[in-house]
Amino acid sequence: MAVIGKKKERSTPAISTASLPDIIFILLFFFMVSTTIKEVDYKVIIRLPEATQVKKLENKSLVSYIYIGPPQRALQEKYGTKPVIQLNDQIASLSQIPQYVEIERAKRPQADVPKMTFSLKVDKETDMGIVTDVKQELRKVQALKINYSAREPYKK
């Protein structure tokens, strides 16, 4: 008996790596589910304000974004340093908002249009003037559900 036991111990068996892909796949799925693909390339700098009463935005597919903030460094020569509006991938003017809303609405099924939310991602150093203008523009086209994007303060 002892002899047989000794024989077995001589070479350490190789650890099977067959399950390694499975482990990696589980990790992969975790990341795929828990993350969201970045919507656009930011042309403006956005440092979100902090707020405590924030709610998670539900139903991501029904959310459209409007970004307001000073242009990125590289674009400051062209657009200046004052806060501007970004729609999709481009810096836009106030008058383009109704058109943007129409396009965003056309992308969704008719039944979901009333449930659409417009998320305003605004840099915290922006003046209210431009934000108010955007809000008035949204009201004109009956896009009334909005969301002020904010971060939860870091909890210690």
Binding site: T17, P21, F31, K38, L57, M128, Y148, S149
Partner: protein, 215 residues
Amino acid sequence: MARRKKGIPEINAASMADIAFMLLIFFLVTTTMSVDKGITRKLPPPVPPDAEAPKVKERNVLSVLVNKDNQVAVEGELTEIDALTQRVKEFIINPNDDPNLSEHEFISDLLDKEMAKPNPDKNKIETYKRILDEIGNVPKSKGVVSLQTDRATKYNVYIQVQDAIVKAFNELRDELAMQAYGKPYNELKEDQQKLIREIYPISLSEAEPRRVKTK
């Protein structure tokens, strides 16, 4: 050699891990972990320019002003943002029936009023009846918080003020929910939340604050 060909050769799975790793790294790089969060608000619908402004009694309006120097004034006096939540709560509940704070209407009165209308709203009647059943005859405030900002106000301050006001309403809802159901508002069922929302709607007017006429 002949023997080997009989069985299908096993595919080497060692590179599977590498492929999966590549995919994993791709997702890690292209995605952001942050979830979108924010304060959800509803804008009032556009009004025709010749429409008459709704008349609201002076005592039922809590005016919050933020000037270009980012100072906050409640009813004309300078206030810290931290104190704002408390001010709004007091204004809405008005426990001692202060004549300078908001008026109340009991749910039973609201129900009677709705019933007396020529074409009563069935949904409203239903909701009021459920409130009477489940929560009791609680007073509902007529108060409206009016938020007015300057064009030069910083967005950050605006959000802080919004946050403080929304916090006041959320705390009121939580208190009522605890009292009525023994649970915080967030843990209630959707239809129960609706009842609480009916009693404490977030009545915050901001888009056209100048339209609110005061008597």
